[in-house]
Amino acid sequence: MSDSNPQEKIHGVVGYYTDVDSVMEASRRVRDAGYKRWDSYTPFPVHGIDDAMGIKPTILPWIVLCMGLTGLGAGLLLQWYTNAYDYVFLISGKPDWSLPANIPVTFEMVIAFSAFTTFFGMLALNKLPHLSNPLHKLERFKRVTNDRFAICVEAADANFDATRVRSILSGANAEAVEDCPVDTSRAALPLWLHGVAAIATCLTFIPLATAFKGRFATSEKPRLHVWPDMDWQRKRKTQTEWEMFPDGRAMRLPVEGTVAQGELRDDFEFYYGVAQDSSVPAGVTYDSGTMGMKDGQAQYSWLANYPSKAPATAELLERGQQRYGIYCAVCHGDVGNGMGSVALRANEINALATGWVQPKSLYSDNAKAYSNGELYHIVTHGISTMKGYGAQVKPADRWAIVAYVRALQKTQGLKPNDDRLDGIELKPAPTIKDVRVSEAPSDAR
């Protein structure tokens, strides 16, 4: 460190004024002298001083505008993602992504983004918080929070010339002008502030630690009810009782003549497997490969092909293979020969002897004779001892299963003289009695 140049030792030159007009005049003079690193200090906001100091209008409004628009986008994106993309849930029959419902949240997001940007942007643009300033070491400067005005031109300014600055500052009716020495004391945070910061940091870990413990530890205690009025709401859940209504149900039946959202089944081909002008099949009887005969007359005109809503495509077949594997193969077998794992196990414990009915092969002439509509009806409502799958499998998937069964019938269960074999010799198909299932002990489950 060299002491040869006395200018290096001062932080800046400070002028003091007793009234607003003088500090305004001094600000104008300093501004016109072309200094950049200087500031005025006043005990209250002074109108017009930003102009006298040559301060450009702040860009903060533009930053706030940008962040406000970001908030707008973020609000919409949040609601689109949660409501319409990640966790679609029907609420009051409104569209999944419904703009009117999103406006309040979007509005609040705009406000939140703008408010935080204004506050923190103001701090950042003013380079705050500023923990120390050499001016605070000056005894005279303390009156600036009370009844004095001050201007400090810093030595760091490129044009700084202490003598010239002194003459400019004192020229505008200054009460006093003095040099501000460089503050060599270490500008450290006070000790108590460290303590507060440490405690605050520790406290922020409590919620995290609680959440962590809640996720990974077990407890004998009942769960904590932070919001009891949300945990025990005075509402009735679906499928429960309620004495308020004469029929004792909490749920209301649809009003007569109305159809619930998504329950309109006006496409008979798709939903019932019959022609559009047919009546809805219910409680049909089975009569040698044709369903729904009454007095020797067919009651329903079953669909022979596929409905227009579920055309026979490669996608439908693929979907059918998958659904068949889930719902059907366990009894009918992966290839449809009636030798699924249930059938094999039943054979193993000799269930046939106790009256158990064996799952049918899907290649039987009977099964092949059914129309598509009849097959669909069987998948939906079941046949003989087979239960219906209408409750579990959606209509489009039932049509996919029908398509896959048709594909199995075309490719599997060949007979020795089948012309599809194209001359290849075929071994006799195994029957259920030929199949050895298990080496496991007979008491295995």
């Binding site: 009234d19 607003v20 007009d21 305004m24 906001p45 002074v46 109108h47 017009g48 009051s92 029959g93 409104k94 009117p100 419902a101 406006i103 309040p104």
Partner: protein, 417 residues
């Protein structure tokens, strides 16, 4: 403060002079406008339906401006505002037009219902109300006698409040007594509550009951929001006009216009906030007896008009009035004030006109759609002339500036940071 006002204006410097001529012009235009509207109404041969609804739009337009100005006056006292003293007298003068709108409201809205004339309100016709359980249940409130009583009561409150505050302020011009300011401040709280009640129920009676089956508890706030919005625009335009005539020069500065502009921007949002809050609750609950009012406005032939209202009453002025540079340039602000008045008209038209086809009109508003007529404009001219006459009459020969107000120096030196 430091800039110092050289001296406060003297009483004889701020007396409004030579307003008798423009006031007379207003009266003549008003008479011609009303006469033309009546002739067109008879010529339309629609049982005066369009005449009644056009008149209602025009009356509500200028009544809402007067009420907004009354609220502006009360607001300055209740918040003990300093900045606004320079322009407050102009707003006070606008409330003077209430006296002249009273006979119009009584004559066109109140009295006809006494004689079961249903050219505006369907429920005035007993044959119409009969059979509708919703309307029959309301007839204890919606009947001619009670309506006339209420109209008299509303105007008693509005004119009474206006006369008290204008009177005190004018008396202060002479005696410079600061105690009057404190007295006005004390009474302004009660006055603003009375104002709120009267304005809310007037909105229910004059406009919401057009469709007597429909109801919205927010409707009064909605009408109030538009009223204050448009009265701010009128206040700025009237002040600029007075400045052009040599009044208030050097008193009203760009700072005051900036503040009026800020309030206008704020109430652009407030109107939208209230309008959206009203529609969102109905949209969410989706109950037919509540949604039908919106249904034939939004899903039918009025659809374009509804979009125009949303874009023109909210999005465009929100973006337009956002910048401080707009609010600090007189000519630009004046253009926006005219815009605001146009869209206040659009707002009232959207509220009132679809009901013309409804009910007694015998049509479906969603199918009929907007049916413009020259009556819409002549009625505006007619009632507007009466409004201008009342406004200038209450200003003529009296100080246009509250020179006795102790906060006048603060207002004159006022600057936006």
């Amino acid at each position: 403060m430091q800039h110092g006002i050289a001296q406060l204006p003297q009483r004889d410097q701020v007396i409004a002079r030579d307003l008798a001529k423009p006031a007379g012009v207003g009266l003549v235009v008003g008479a011609i406008g009303l006469g033309l509207t009546a002739v067109l109404g008879f010529a339309a041969k629609d049982h005066m339906l369009h005449f009644g609804h056009s008149m209602l739009v025009a009356i509500m337009f200028f009544l809402s401006i007067c009420l907004g100005a009354l609220f502006f006056t009360l607001l300055q006292h209740v918040t003990s505002a300093g900045w606004s003293v320079a322009v407050r007298r102009v707003a006070e003068a606008m409330t003077g037009a209430l006296m002249f709108l009273f006979p119009l409201v009584l004559g066109f809205i109140g009295i006809p219902v006494l004689f079961e004339m249903s050219y505006i309100y369907d429920w005035a016709d007993p044959k119409f109300a009969h059979g509708s359980e919703l309307i029959e249940g309301k007839l204890g409130y919606l009947n001619g006698v009670f309506l006339v009583v209420r109209i008299v009561l509303y105007f008693a409150i509005w004119i009474g409040v206006s006369r008290f505050f204008v009177g005190q302020s004018r008396a202060q011009d002479d005696d410079q007594d600061p105690a009057r300011t404190i007295k006005m401040q004390r009474r302004s709280g009660v006055a603003i509550i009375l104002f709120g009640l009267a304005t809310t129920f007037a909105a229910f009676d004059f406009m919401m009951s057009l469709n007597a089956e429909w109801f919205s508890t927010m409707y009064g706030v909605y009408i109030f929001a538009g009223a204050f919005w448009s009265s701010l625009a009128t206040l700025a335009l009237a002040t600029m006009w007075l400045e052009k005539r040599g009044q208030l020069q050097g008193v009203v500065t760009v700072e005051h216009y900036h503040d009026i502009g800020k309030l206008m921007f704020a109430f652009t949002f407030f109107w939208s906030y209230v309008a959206f809050s009203q529609i969102m609750l109905y949209w969410y609950a989706d109950i037919p007896e509540e949604t039908h009012w919106f249904h034939y406005r939004i899903w039918g032939a009025w659809n374009g008009f509804s979009i125009l209202l949303m874009v023109g009453h909210f999005i465009i002025p929100m973006l337009g009035l956002l910048s401080r540079h707009v609010k600090r340039r007189r000519n630009v602000l004046a253009a926006w004030c005219v815009y605001v008045l146009v869209f206040h008209f659009v707002d009232l038209y959207w509220n009132i006109m679809p009901e013309m086809a409804n009910g007694i009109g015998g049509g479906d508003p969603a199918v009929v759609g907007p049916a413009f007529s020259p009556m819409d404009l002549t009625a505006m001219l007619g009632v507007g002339g009466v409004f201008i006459f009342g406004f200038l009459k209450s200003l003529d020969g009296k100080p246009v500036l509250a020179i006795g107000d102790p906060r006048l120096p603060e207002s004159l030196a006022f600057e936006n940071v």
